[in-house]
């Protein structure tokens, strides 16, 4: 290659791209979770790869077909696949098949301490410690998302027409329904567990204040919201789906009701596809349709920092190592950037 051209390309790279490593896996990165100093990534070719600074990733051939869902569980990851298998995988490549649902996909997974949860179709399956047989929770339509509250006492299950929140009392789950017309996907509890929020099939997110089931409809997005993340102490719920990262304040007794969101990290013509909080900071990483990633404070007067330049493929996942030292960015073409967040690392 022409030396000048090489120099030019080098100068167009971001600081993090220059000091990081780039891996081309060749299959879409679908999910990423952090386990201690490693970041596990699920791919569209069924592999789970464990990335760690300074070494090549370890590849585990986990599923036949797409890794649809993933979460961390103790020192392992739990994965759900297009092959109908619900797996527990360790970073040394040990695969434990928890259940095989055959030709039904395992769409969602969740965990809390020693409890493993997955959904397949309309049913949620819960495995608790020392029990071989799962408890099952039935729903009127296919499950779109699963989330535990921070104590593991409540499990939110999103579906068509709203969310069922299951509460655990004396080893029995009881249901409470939160209703809103339309199909609900990814679901989350606010960190203070006062709200639940879902991403809908329409271009909107919907929330409920849990104590009185008051509705919060957050609309005006030009595309579907595929990702959200809680940021800072306020806290803000930061969402993708727009040309900016849209940050809804959830402080006070009313949360975002009747208030406007803050918008940061403008991507110009590109739409945000993935957002991830920087732990302990009032800042968020925002990935866009062209593969670029910006880091922005939740402050409209501050300028965002370019973390990754355009790759031409939409950002599908971002993960930060648990000690806040490493960032991993993956896209739909399977390009992975692993880099240290801080210069003197």
């Amino acid at each position: 290659m022409n030396a000048d051209l090489e120099k030019l390309q080098e100068s167009n790279k971001t600081e993090l791209e220059r000091r990081g490593s780039i891996f081309n896996i060749g299959a879409p990165a679908t999910e990423a979770v952090t386990i201690r100093d490693q970041i596990a990534v699920g791919f569209g070719d069924g592999t789970v790869r464990f990335f760690q600074s300074g070494s090549d990733p370890k590849t585990v051939k986990a599923h036949k077909g797409v890794v649809l869902s993933m979460t961390n569980y103790e020192d392992h990851v739990l994965t759900g696949g297009e092959d109908g298998r619900f797996l527990k995988i360790s970073s040394d490549g040990n695969i434990d098949e928890i259940f095989n649902f055959g030709s039904k996909w395992v769409d969602c997974v969740a965990s809390h301490k020693d409890t493993k949860v997955c959904s397949s179709g309309k049913t949620v399956y819960i495995w608790t410690k020392n029990k071989d047989k799962p408890q099952t929770l039935e729903h009127p339509s296919t499950v779109g998302g699963l989330a535990f509250d921070n104590k593991g006492k409540r499990l939110a299950v999103s579906r068509y027409g709203g969310v069922t929140v299951w509460k655990l009392n004396n080893n029995k789950w009881t249901a409470s329904n939160f209703t809103w017309k339309g199909s609900h996907g990814t679901v989350t509890f606010s960190p203070d567990t006062k709200y639940i929020v879902t991403a809908m099939q329409e271009n909107q997110i919907h929330g409920w204040r849990i104590n009185d089931k008051a509705d919060l409809a957050m609309r005006g997005y030009p595309s579907k919201i595929k990702s959200f993340t809680w940021v800072g102490d306020t806290p803000y719920l930061v969402t993708s789906g727009s040309s900016d990262a849209v940050c809804w304040p959830f402080d006070g007794t009313e949360g975002p009701m009747g208030r406007k969101p803050i918008v940061v990290a403008n991507g110009g013509k590109e739409l945000a596809t993935f957002v991830k909080a920087l732990n302990g900071e009032k800042a968020v990483f925002t990935g866009f349709t062209d593969g670029s990633v910006l880091l922005a404070e939740i402050d409209e007067s501050k300028k965002p920092i370019m973390i990754r330049s355009s790759t031409g493929s939409e950002v599908s996942t971002i993960a930060i190592s648990s000690d806040n030292s490493q960032i991993l960015i993956g896209d739909m073409k399977g390009s992975i950037l692993l880099s240290s967040l801080w210069a003197d690392n």
């Binding site: 996909w105 809908m200 579907k224």
Partner: protein, 323 residues
């Protein structure tokens, strides 16, 4: 805009026993050198075992978008977005529906959901009909009528079991409901796969294939809720504003009864042909190049649906003619 990376999706309908499973097994096992994923319904016939088969549950959802007849297949949105994350690229996806399913929500999913529309495209609705039983099914089940009405291709299967003059009768019955579908007569669904998959039937330029032969209004029928078709031709150029007012209002108020609509339009003062095609209230429309030289610039529209006689379609269309 046409996006070449969109995976074509064929929707396969037909009553239980018509031969859908035979066709699916052919698609999955024949050496065609292509990779097809098949989405089957949970109540389907047994006998398909393949890594590329996905179980679906035909969940029909109302969209929360204010459109009263806008139902979509929620499970299809989920499954198609999952399939698009595969490392290996699929050549086509085939969606099987149960015999009693209404094909509209499947078709509407491709109009309404942006993610689905970005990555996949509705290729054609293919209906497998049982030549022996179709006539009685059409009397007993309105779903059978709808499956014929929505179809771009109809495989009239099991023709070996029916006398020739009965085939002609069934053929005429189909034509009365749906004048533009391609009818292929088969034994054990033995039609060439390239006449079933990869047709691009929902592409707007295919609207130009509307055969003028079928565009003769003919609607003697027994029940008011029968599915019929009506078509109109005009050699007088249409007024664009008048047409948009009439047609927009028609789909808004009568869209539930209009199963499919298609047309080629000659607007006064416009050099290009306009084409549209719709499913219930949803439609796609766009200019489609200049009129071919030496041919008549006539506007042609076709409606397939219920209760078409009470929509004043002829009068409405006539009123769109430019003064």
């Amino acid at each position: 805009m046409e996006n070449t990376s969109q995976v074509p999706v064929t929707v396969l309908t037909g009553f239980l026993g018509a031969g859908k499973t035979t066709l699916l097994n052919r698609i999955l096992t024949e050496q065609h050198g292509r990779k097809y994923a098949v989405i089957v319904n949970e109540f389907g016939e047994q006998g398909i075992d393949n890594d590329l088969v996905v179980d679906a549950d035909e969940e029909v959802f109302e969209m929360n978008n204010g459109c009263i007849c806008c139902t979509v297949r929620g499970d299809l949105i989920r499954i198609l977005s999952g399939l698009m994350k595969r490392a290996d690229k699929l050549d086509a996806i085939i969606v099987e529906t149960t015999g009693l399913a209404d094909p509209a929500p499947v078709a509407q999913t491709f109009f309404v959901d942006q993610d689905v529309a970005d990555r996949t495209k509705l290729d054609a609705i293919v209906t497998v009909a049982d030549a022996v039983h179709l006539s009685s099914q059409l009397v007993d089940h309105h779903e059978a009528e709808e499956q014929i009405a929505f179809a771009d291709v109809i495989l009239l299967n099991k023709v070996e079991l029916v006398e020739d003059n009965d085939i002609v009768k069934v053929n005429d019955r189909i034509r009365k409901i749906n004048p533009f579908a391609k009818i292929i007569k088969t034994t054990r669904c033995d039609a060439p796969l390239d006449e079933i998959v990869g047709l691009n039937a929902f592409s707007l330029d295919r609207v130009l294939d509307i055969e003028p032969d079928f565009l003769e209004s003919d609607h003697d029928h027994e029940h008011d809720d029968d599915v019929t078709s009506l078509s109109f031709v005009s050699d007088t150029p249409l007024d664009m504003d008048k047409f948009q007012d009439w047609f927009g209002n028609l789909l808004r108020t009568k869209g539930q009864d209009i199963l499919r609509s298609k047309g080629i339009l000659n607007f006064k003062g416009e050099e290009e042909r306009y084409v549209f095609q719709g499913v219930h209230m949803l439609m796609d429309a766009s200019p489609m190049g200049p009129w071919p030289k030496g041919k008549d610039r006539s506007s042609r529209v076709v409606f397939i649906g219920r209760d078409l006689d009470n929509m004043n379609l002829k009068e409405g269309f006539e009123n769109c003619k430019s003064a």
